[in-house]
Subunit: 146 residues, 2 copies
Amino acid sequence: MSAVAPAPAAPPISGVLETGLYVDDLPRARAFYEGVLGLRPMIADHRFCAYDAGPGSVLLLFLRGATLEAVTMPGGTIPGHDGHGPLHYALAIPAGSLDAWIAHLAGQGVAVESRVNWKGGGASLYFRDPDGHLVELATPGLWANY
Amino acid sequence: MSAVAPAPAAPPISGVLETGLYVDDLPRARAFYEGVLGLRPMIADHRFCAYDAGPGSVLLLFLRGATLEAVTMPGGTIPGHDGHGPLHYALAIPAGSLDAWIAHLAGQGVAVESRVNWKGGGASLYFRDPDGHLVELATPGLWANY
């Protein structure tokens, strides 16, 4: 028995729902994410674009500096946020699609910066988006939960 | 018929697999993500920590500046990346868990900065992690795909 009270358990979390990137030129970024990566926008305006990246998975592009101030809407207020630097994130791709992605990126003139073969059997491709963010495409067999 | 060749379709993407955040103090950030949000680390060292946020969903904390240089491992090389600023991302929480999260955050001394009630029926809570990142907890009914 311990005299220290255990920390109260947190309620459940189902997954990461939204991942935000910050870009200097939204039309340039959208051309890449839609034209090269094939993502489908759900909603967009002059300062952001939200992509359906899969069930319960949203990739957000924000025009850098345009979301520093809080935004109040009928349903409430979204507080301010912003970002700099070459962020890293990864997109899941189906097992067996790696070669098709390699060929597709080559055909689109996107240089693959690196490839990693993971011990669990998955593989990752790394390349840059137009803002220098480090994009990874990963097949299953990388993490204990993927 | 159009004389312009259509862009080649991209191979499929299944979802966002990894979301990266950059922190100034990794033990401080881990105390928040594990002790307050209840996330479970899969792997960690002095410069990063990877959390299982749900099936096929990984939240990565990187010590700011520690991943600027590429890292070469037996399976390949992970190129450099880094980030600054109060980034925004969202975690999915189950429908019906919102009140439990509000009580849990209050009990942990985390100030909820804002709440948004979405037209689709979902609701979001916004608060800051120790590095100022804008964390959102969102119930279903926010996006067309959630």
